[in-house]
Subunit: 568 residues, 2 copies
């Protein structure tokens, strides 16, 4: 491609409403333009990268035996009512009526349509296993779309759905997709982790998120540097501390703690180790409020808390009025002493002695509290988020935490949708059975943003070779003035293009500084600069995008030298 | 591809609501499945053909220098209000509100968004010319979606938009697209015509429809077999008959014509040549009703009628009450005699003598009516549709008419959108000027249906090679039983696949009859059947989809023989 025949539109400054680095760089480099909140045009430069991501995803899905189809963007409400998602999903599900006042949605995913296809088409065990996928425009009406393509409303997603005879076969389909995802993210050239994730109401242990590692990621990823253990923070298990609970060493005392509302207040007021304090959280149980206890420096893990039997789902914090009725005090002064209801202590709390807790009397706490002596022995559960340095559940070391951006998810669905929609097949024994399903998503547009969050510097984007809009840029200095420059640039361009290299020749006639700034912003990995002075010395300049400085290549044989840099 | 790893789902009967042959065959062959009225899933088999069409369109758009981008499916109302289309477009424009009650549309085309991009990005004459295109999901909320993908609501369209400095440059962009379209339809392997079409309010002569020729087409295409003249029926000019108007030969007489309401009634009642009769149509003028006259056997051309100065736009037929007030009679008995208002006669009527016309008195007609003698001389205009045998406007022969399906449209837009949206560029003289635009559409999904309407027989679809889901099918008889059959089939399959031929090996184990019926329905152009009996005689069978019978190929060297059939 010659730049004069393409469309390059870079900006000195990102629009004022751009918040994160990928959004700013995509706007500045002319990858996207905003049309409405969370709705973008993919400009020619951006579309090249998007298509490369799509192609890698498609090739690996095909290689894994998944079969591509395309379901409609606009879907009738009826199917969504069958599964209950019409009612259950919130406002992020975009609903509308057509001219005949029939209800429709714009697809955020396609479980309903694919299950409808499956119940019509996959009627025998002989038709199984099957895995259908699409790469398609989706819409999610985010309350607050932001961060460019990272949390847009209209986006491109690859969604795949597997259908199997039984759980064992479904497990194989799941593993097959897991491996395909690893190949996809390997080929994309991104640093990522597959982390175990919560399966929610489905149960089972088959849910993994694929997270692109980036300091700016919204998700906390827990992993063990000594093993392949990795999970998201919702799922990562916090083990009980080793050893027995110490014997009580103090007597319980009531302390007046005026204006102490938080653990930080308490620690400051009492001048004590935060690890002696206990945080009280009251949630609704199926019948009455339940007191949950985590150590002062720990965070309640709501996903873990919700899974406990007898806890209202979704997890609901008790109202101030309900708390006052049950405890006789307001939040900030709550604790287990004297509370007659259900008490669940985190595993760490269960091993504590001489605790500091709220006294169930406003502006008062107890110190020196011990389970069994001063209050009832609690139920014990894993209630908290792990923290850096916790022992890994794999038993091989201490946990580390890093930030990630979720770009893929593989998920075992079981028969949730097939039972709701009566999608059965006739098994070998002649009996109808519900199809076992899995679903597998990749945020194609999101990958583009995540790749930038992971790979950029102050000058701009640094694309992995596989998804750069162009692999190589040739920057001739004086293309219009110098015969030698033009001839060398044209020859190199043709040589690379003939070998199928995605090369762009910058023939716009820009000054070198502006030209270099554009290509560093756009993030093309390999740059060859050809100038008259260098040619007189038999040299051209080569610079890899991550290099601090350019190096010389011989002008003779520059094609071979560049191909070598490209690993070709 | 092996059939066992693909998804093949053929039906014996099309669903009862399928109306036309392409719709029936696409459903039966498993190309599409209906999700809602006018909304389909493209199943794996259909998607293969759709993607091949897309690829050809994309390659030729790229070759023509157009630059691909992707505008959003969901577009904010604001842009549509700027051009007035928010108000002007009817219910086929799907409007909805997001969760914040902001108005949006689902794009039927993207003139507004691309013009918004142009006014921000194409600010100098140095940025011109530019042509941007996308291949994208569109939605048009048809009142009565029908005919499968031929008139669906959700569809895939390639839409391109050119931006130029002036009309001359815009003309070059138009011609460039016209040529690209010819290459596209040539490569698709379809019989088509580019026909001149009406430009409506834009004016000028730059509008062509690309019509796939099919007896079942909705559009009438007028062409001259002796030249390259072709136009759609709305635009095709009806020349005036040669020679002078004959002198009056009869005297005017009033005839009682009870219950005669139509021209057919009149001809039957008076037992006369229909070519002596004149049909009266009353339309609203800017001030008063206008009488339009066409010969009894001709049809008023509403597009031509609407273009006449002083005629209300859009063309509006006068109400029965207005007609009664102006003529003193009801439709069925109207004519020029005694009418004091504006009279416009078609060119053919203007050359008639001794006409039979309504008498402006219910149940009465006049015979022997002559202009100038019995009523005023009318204005003369081209008011009618041409008919087969009319002299061609090119002067080289008589017109013929055939049916077509519109699959593409190139259209000079002028400054309609750029003026409405203030999309100007700074010209070389330093002055801002509105961008000259053209728009260029191809109905990608519609092409698939049109190709079938043109190419099918009683057994199924007959794909042109370029867009067949598979180019070659290998049908082994006894693949599981016979070593020789399996080896020959596998070797041929690998040989073709290695050469990049889109081949499918039917390893499903179906009986030969069912297997052949499937592939004839699906329409794969080249079939190779391999059976044990044939192999013993050193033969395999080859059949081209259009052939009535199979022919033998030598089993030795079958790969070379098949490649020759494929023109490789």
């Amino acid at each position: 491609m010659r730049a004069s025949q393409f469309f390059i539109s870079t900006l000195k400054e990102a629009p004022a409403d751009a918040e994160i680095v990928s959004q700013k760089l995509m706007l500045r480099a002319g990858f996207i333009r905003k049309v409405a909140a969370g709705v973008y045009t993919w400009m020619p430069m951006g579309l090249r990268t998007l298509r490369k991501v799509e192609t890698i995803v498609r090739e690996e899905m095909d290689r894994a035996g998944a079969i591509e189809l395309t379901m409609p963007v606009v879907q009738p409400a009826g199917l969504w009512q069958e599964t209950g998602r019409w009612d259950k999903m919130g406002e992020e599900l975009l609903r509308f009526q057509d001219r005949h006042e029939r209800d429709f949605v714009i697809q955020p995913t396609s479980e309903e349509v694919i299950t409808d296809i499956a119940r019509n088409e996959l009627k025998s065990y002989r038709a199984l296993p099957k895995n259908f996928y699409q790469i398609q425009t989706k819409f999610r009406d985010e309350r607050r779309p932001r961060f460019g393509v990272m949390r847009g409303r209209e986006f491109v997603m690859k969604d795949a759905y597997s259908f199997d005879r039984d759980m064992e076969a479904a497990g194989k389909s799941y593993d097959n997709m897991y491996r395909a995802y690893c190949r996809i993210f390997d080929r994309l050239g991104l640093t990522y982790r597959a982390v175990a994730a919560d399966t929610g109401a489905i149960g089972g242990d088959r849910s993994h998120e694929f997270q692109v590692i980036a300091d700016t990621g919204e998700d906390a990823i827990v992993y063990c540097p000594q093993s392949d253990y990795a999970a998201n923070i919702e799922l990562a298990e916090a083990l009980a501390p080793e050893g027995e609970r110490p014997a009580p060493g103090a007597t319980m005392q009531k302390v007046h703690t005026p204006r102490v509302k938080t653990i930080a207040d308490l620690v400051g007021f009492l001048k004590m180790d935060i690890r002696q304090t206990v945080k009280a959280v009251v949630v609704e149980g199926d019948e009455a409020p339940v007191l949950m206890l985590v150590r002062g420096d720990h965070e309640l893990n709501e996903v873990k808390a919700e899974k406990i039997a007898g806890i209202k789902k979704p997890l609901t914090f008790a109202s101030p009025a309900a708390i006052l009725a049950a405890f006789g005090a307001n939040p900030g002064s709550l604790g287990p002493v004297g509370f007659k209801g259900r008490i669940i202590a985190d595993r760490t709390v269960a091993k504590m002695a001489d605790m500091v807790v709220g006294a169930n009397e406003d502006d008062h706490h107890y110190t020196g509290v011990n389970f069994g002596r001063d209050c009832a022995e609690p139920e014990v559960a894993d209630l908290r988020n792990v923290v850096e340095g916790d022992p890994s559940p794999c038993g091989k070391g201490a946990l580390a935490i890093q930030r990630g951006i979720e770009v893929g998810h593989v998920f075992y669905l079981g028969t949730k949708y097939s039972v709701a929609m009566n999608a059965t097949f006739l098994d070998e024994d002649g009996k109808p059975k519900p199809l076992e399903m899995g679903c597998y998503g990749i945020g194609v547009t999101r990958i583009v943003g995540a790749a930038i969050e992971q790979n950029h510097d102050t000058r701009g984007i640094i694309w992995p070779d596989a998804i750069a809009p162009f692999g190589v840029v040739i920057c001739p200095v004086g293309y219009d003035r110098s015969e030698a420059v033009r001839a060398t640039a044209d020859t190199l361009y043709q040589g690379l293009a003939e070998r199928g290299i995605d090369v762009i020749l910058d023939d716009r006639g820009e000054r070198p500084g502006a030209m270099f700034a554009d290509w560093e912003l756009i993030g093309v990995p390999h740059r060859v600069t050809i100038g008259e002075r260098g040619l007189k010395e038999g040299k051209v300049e080569y610079q890899y995008r991550r290099d601090a400085e350019a190096t010389d290549l011989p002008a003779e044989g520059v094609l071979a030298a560049v191909l070598e840099r490209l690993g070709r």
